[in-house]
Amino acid sequence: MTFLHLSFYSAFTLSSLGLAFHRMHLISALLCLESMMLSMYIALSMWPIQTQMTSSTLMPILMLAFSACEAGAGLAILVASTRTHGSDQLHNLNLLQC
């Protein structure tokens, strides 16, 4: 089991580092956010198997529902900022600011 813990700890950390240090496009940040959610989903699904507590089987489904909402909100922000700024490149988000 420790191998499983190592794998999703490292998946989560790599995705968050990817969220923090992306270069060009906003959409790559959103993609890393999705991978964070994915790793958390797998971790939450492991929990009832390990502790033999079947009543918390509901938890990953709930998290999935909220992550879908969050992805939708993120994409809406992306679309809105792309419509006003012309592209989703990050360096022109504060280009015209005084």
Binding site: S16, L17, L19, A20, F21, H22, L26, A29, L90, H91, L93, N94, Q97
Partner: protein
């Protein structure tokens, strides 16, 4: 001599003579009524009603007659019983005398009307309903009389029903009386449920009556007797013909509320809260009506407000726990108030329909009898010593001064008494003295005995009635006998002050000063702003609130304020505030986020 038998028979005879113009046309086909025959009927009935009055004075006897019983349900029987005590036996001749004079006057006044017989019949039906109210021994008969006088008042105020203001005034009278009727029905329901009877003499007078039925009775008296709060119908009722104003709205109908309180006095006398309510409301109504009368320009409205003020004075007397004195004031007031109305009717017809005081003047030489009786009536109203009004008004003021009561009520009543003198003198001066302001050609003629006889008869009554009644009816409660000189002469002193005030103010009219508007004048002339406030403001507010709650509230609140649009406006407000703070350096934000997470993780590892 079997006195009870003669009393009962003569009373029955009075009522039978009075209802003959209604019953005889049903019995024979050839019988036609006319205003003169109705007047003669009332005169005969008056003569017949003197017999029971003299009998009761001679033998100090009261009587209750029981004719028939309506077995309503097993436990609750409603008897048809008539009570002939000092109040009803004294009121019958007075009411019949005043009605006789008014009907004789109406023969001349309504001579050019198309339906004079119907008019006199309406007045007769009104009188019968009023007498049923007076003579009733239980609340059921009293309620029949009460509603009867209300209906006849509606029909008679709206006599000239082609006129829109007359219809509005009649409707106003009915509505305000209805609000009072709620109180009366409340009291009747309480009596039926807790004392199991509607007989007035079966109500126990030693216990404390709870406040609810007494408040109902006071509400009924407020509605019918035009106390403050339910008063606007009385000045509006001047839209009716002058005989109607003289009979209903001065002597007879408006005292029905006070009479109810006199009849049920044994329930009121132990409850101090009810008595204080009567006292304060009466004081407020008398002052308010006297203030409004000061700046009115219509002669009938001044007399209407004078009636309202005297009704407030009667209510004050009830609040002092003196029902017999209130009844004395009712009796004397009937004479001079009816006479004032008849004099004003004569003046109005003589000037071809002119009712405005500012267009009358110098009538003393043109209408000598009428104006002399107008002066007598005004002096009696003011409480001039030894005319009719003095015996009741002066006694009331003496009792007010010597009682343990609310000082504010006392002050208001005294101020109202001086205002009474002021507006009466104003009316008398503007009508009778100085150069005349009437148009050049007017049908001035008072040579008709149908005008002068009723007015002089009532003038005789206004002079003698006080003396006669107080000589023959001993008081049941001891009046205060000893008081300081200033207290004894309070009424005369403040009346004289009012007269001096009126004379000083009338001097201003000789000096051609332009009238300026100020707050007090506007308040008095528009009747205290009560009519527009209550009639317009309250109804528009109520209807607006109704529309808001019924149709606007659901749509407005759910769709706009709480639903999607409300959420959008909230977010918009928040983002407008914070938009200047955002700098947009995404990479810097995310880099600092990663750095701080790393630092925290490293620091918490041990």
């Amino acid at each position: 001599m079997d006195f009870p038998l003669i009393l009962n028979i003569s009373m029955f005879l009075t009522l039978l003579i009075l209802s003959s113009p209604i019953l005889l046309p049903l019995l024979s086909k050839n019988y036609q009524n006319s205003p003169t025959t109705i007047m003669r009927t009332v005169k005969t009935s008056f003569m017949a009603s003197l017999i029971p009055m003299i009998l009761s004075i001679y033998s100090n006897m009261e009587n209750t007659t029981f004719y028939w019983e309506w077995k309503f349900i097993t436990n609750f029987k409603i008897p048809f019983s008539l009570k002939m005590d000092q109040y009803s036996l004294m009121f019958f001749p007075i009411a019949l005398f005043v009605t006789w004079s008014i009907l004789q006057f109406a023969v001349w006044y309504m001579a050019s009307e198309p339906y004079t017989t119907k008019f006199s019949l309406f007045l007769l039906i009104f009188l019968i309903a009023m007498l049923i109210l007076i003579i009733a021994n239980n609340m059921f008969l009293l309620f029949i009389g009460w509603e009867g006088v209300g209906i006849m008042s509606f029909l008679l105020i709206g006599w000239w029903h082609g006129r829109a203001e007359a219809n509005t005034a009649a409707l106003q009278a009915v509505l305000y009386n209805r609000i009072g009727d709620i109180g009366l029905i409340l009291c009747m329901a309480w009596l039926a449920s807790s004392m199991n009877t509607w007989e007035i003499q079966q109500h126990s007078s030693t216990n404390q009556t709870p406040l609810l039925p007494l408040m109902g009775l006071i509400l009924a008296a407020t509605g019918k007797s035009a106390q403050f709060g339910l008063h606007p119908w009385l000045p509006a009722a001047m839209e009716g013909p002058t005989p109607v104003s003289a009979l209903l709205h001065s002597s007879t109908m408006v005292v029905a509320g006070i009479f109810l309180l006199i009849r049920t006095h044994h329930m009121l006398c132990n409850n101090q809260i009810a008595l204080t309510t009567c006292l304060c409301m009466g004081a407020l109504s008398t002052l308010f009506a006297a203030t409004c009368a000061l700046t009115q320009n219509d002669i009938k409205k001044i007399i209407a407000f004078s009636t309202s003020s005297q009704l407030g004075l009667m209510m004050v007397t009830i609040g002092l726990n003196l029902p017999q004195l209130a009844f004395l004031h009712i009796s004397t007031h009937a004479f001079f108030k009816a006479m004032l109305f008849l004099c004003s009717g004569s003046i109005i017809h003589s000037l071809n329909g002119e009712q405005d005081l500012r267009k009358m003047g110098g009538l003393q030489k043109l209408l000598p009898t009428t104006t002399s009786c107008l002066t007598i009536g005004n002096l009696a109203l003011m409480g001039t010593p030894f005319l009719a009004g003095f015996y009741s008004k002066d006694l009331i003021i003496e009792n007010l001064n010597m009682s343990y009561l609310n000082t504010w009520a006392l002050l208001l009543t005294l101020i109202a008494t001086s205002f009474t003198a002021t507006y009466s003198l104003r009316m008398a001066l503007l009508v009778q003295t100085n150069y005349t302001r009437i148009p050049s050609i007017t049908p001035i003629n008072e040579n008709n005995p149908a005008i002068t006889n009723p007015i002089t008869r009532l003038a005789l009554g206004s002079i003698m009635a006080g003396l006669l009644i107080t000589s023959y009816i001993p008081p049941t409660k001891t009046p205060p006998m000893t008081m300081p000189l200033a207290t004894k002469t309070t009424a005369i002193i403040i009346t004289t002050l009012g007269i001096i005030l009126a004379l000083e103010l009338s001097k201003l009219t000789h000096t051609l000063t332009t009238p300026k508007q100020n707050v007090a004048l506007n308040f008095s002339n528009t009747l205290g702003y009560f009519n527009p406030l209550m009639h317009r403001l309250s109804s528009t507010k109520l209807l607006n609130n109704g529309q808001n709650i019924a149709s606007h509230l659901i749509d407005l609140s759910w769709y706009k304020k709480m639903g999607p649009e409300g959420l959008a406006t909230l977010q918009l407000k928040a983002s407008k505030i914070s938009t200047t703070l955002h700098t947009g350096l995404i990479k810097t934000y995310l880099g600092s986020f990663a750095l701080s997470i790393l630092t925290i993780i490293l620091f918490t590892q041990n």
